[in-house]
Subunit: 365 residues, 2 copies
């Protein structure tokens, strides 16, 4: 019996590791159901389905095209290598499939513009796979710390710092798609830095920075793919804000996000992947002063806990499916919020690459 | 009756706010005693002594020269504006007074070299007032996280991030010596950034960076004094390490220090002035991995607590006095460790200024 609350039927294009996580998220989301999975070979898709315990109702395709022809698929999740996004997302949109695409959205803005033109002209929803944006912690920080009327508003933001690092194994560095120029040519800049750039833009209410500057410590593999990078972003409105971002496949895991304003600061150390699946926290320090003689502080950081019934990836699927249902069942227009977030993130990624080309000169946006 | 365990007799040159804190530290340190205080006017020195409850045994001078002539003074603490350091420290050393000088040590390396030549030729001890280096937390981190054989060694360091920010009042910005070009012309670069630069050098075992680069967000007051700055330091040995530093008089209080290596990371948010006077903590994350499907981490940060019987400024006075006693009573040579730390910090400060002059170009050291 079909669960009628699971309204959006997903197909998955490709059997990447991340697809295991999103397949589970589709299962967990109350308004989504997994309907089909495709790989370039039927054997691979069957193996993927069996390993992940998909029910027999999930159709197995040995070609992406065949999945896209399936009228029983409303939306596709695309975890393919970034170099294939433009081709398959444009084809999917042409088949009126809504598209949830793994980040980075594209290799460059010109490609993303092709993708966004296709989804717009076909009236389908687009979203990239930035899961952390859907964690209730993210909204909670925004309401508590960024809304000027809030009791703990941190005020105009002066400084943002974010990291995204993980120690890649030798196997990863030798063969993972994220370090292969023909597959994910952006390396860590498209992978972990997508989150840190996104977090900086989010903190600034998606205002674009005026300049983007790569620092001179970029490290690449022998094929030229970026393994480690540090970037600074500069805004001049409403006050000057600087963001520093450090992302690397070569260092111990870190996912720091620090946002410091006039009146307070917010600290997270697990902003991309929370320590635990169904709860998370962040620290707010508000109105700190030194006590007499500058011996000690008058306040310590306050830890704010947030409980999430569903993991952030399921919340992402739920939000995407909510938008798709609105289009499918109620005649709503696709939301432009998510494509716009992807586009702005991609613009900054492009500017980082341009800064690197120019020998770490600042690039104006 | 003179307390014979209080062997080093201090004179204080000037009645700056910070001198209140260090006078108390001299009182708390078991091997130091306050013997004299001088201001440019005797009235001011008397007021300072009375406000701080100094005992009648503390001599009051209406001139710095007179204090330096006092044979009952072994060592001087110099909290004068930085522009006066070279003059008074050289004079003090000439009078064979050991010198504890408030940071920044000098306005530039050339001045500091004069100071260090004077203390060396007179055989007296020199130390700058970086209190945090004397907190037992600092040594604890070093032993736990930086020694390769330790169970929680973070391994070779890839990334360091440090901040030093505080929201200056309008009065501070209008009239504090730290924003007056003729008094403390380095502004926040000599003040809060002295700690962040020092912490980055400390984490790297006082290896100098190969390049120093100012980022384009520097803010100055109308007199040209730096109020806010972001800097990156780059090392290439034993692996590439990048440090980012953000210091400002314009933002909410922050004193973050993050050090991320191959195997772990250390996080502090109060590294310069601990939240509390007699205990502090730091967080270590070691051997972190994502759990299956990258849902959550296998470990959370461990908070390591450190108790200090004396506050860090008293520990600084105690260490300085220990070195002075060694020279005075046992014929030891002055320690070169502390002058060398000051000199390296000052070299980086100079390089930041040079980078700013060159329009934020990288400066080699």
């Amino acid at each position: 019996m079909v669960d009628t609350t699971k309204t959006v039927r997903f197909g998955i294009l490709g059997c990447a590791e991340i697809a295991r996580k999103v397949a589970r998220a589709i299962d967990l989301a109350p308004n989504a159901t997994l309907s089909a999975v495709a790989s370039r070979s039927k054997e691979k898709a069957e193996k993927f389905a069996s390993e992940n315990g998909f029910p027999a109702s999930v159709k197995i395709y040995g070609s992406y095209d065949r999945l896209l022809e399936d009228p029983g698929v409303d939306a596709v999740y695309v975890p393919l290598p970034t170099s294939l996004h433009v081709r398959w997302v444009v084809l999917a949109a042409g088949r009126k499939k809504h598209v949830l695409v793994e980040k980075p959205a594209a290799l460059e803005v010109a490609e993303l513009e092709q993708i966004l033109a296709a989804v717009e002209s076909n009236g389908v929803q687009f979203m990239d796979g930035s899961m952390w944006l859907h964690h209730p912690r993210t909204a909670h920080i925004q309401q508590l710390c960024f809304v000027p009327s809030s009791a703990k508003s941190i005020g105009p933001i002066h400084f943002i710092h974010s990291t995204g690092t993980m120690p890649a194994t030798p196997e990863f560095l030798a063969s993972n798609i994220r370090v292969k120029p023909e597959l994910d040519g952006l390396g860590v800049l498209g992978d972990l830095a997508w989150y840190s750039i996104g977090a900086s833009l989010w903190a600034k209410g998606y205002q674009l920075p005026i300049t983007v500057t790569a620092l001179p410590d970029v490290k690449r593999n022998s094929a030229g793919v970026i393994l480690s990078i540090t970037v600074s972003l500069l805004w001049d409105q409403p006050i000057q804000t600087l963001a520093t971002i450090h992302c690397s496949f070569l260092s111990h895991i870190s996912m720091d996000l620090v946002i410091c304003g006039s009146n307070g600061s917010v600290h997270l150390r697990d902003f991309t992947i929370p320590y635990q699946e169904t709860s998370a926290s962040f620290d707010v320090t508000f109105g700190a002063k030194f006590v007499d003689l500058h011996i000690g502080w008058n306040v310590k950081p306050e830890e704010v806990h947030v409980v999430n019934e569903l993991p952030q990836e399921a919340l992402m699927v739920q939000e995407f499916s909510r938008l798709v249902s609105g289009i499918k069942d109620c005649g709503s227009q696709p939301s432009t919020k998510w494509p716009e977030i992807s586009r702005k993130t991609q613009l900054v990624v492009d500017a980082v690459n341009k800064s690197l080309e120019l020998g770490c000169k600042s690039v104006s946006l």
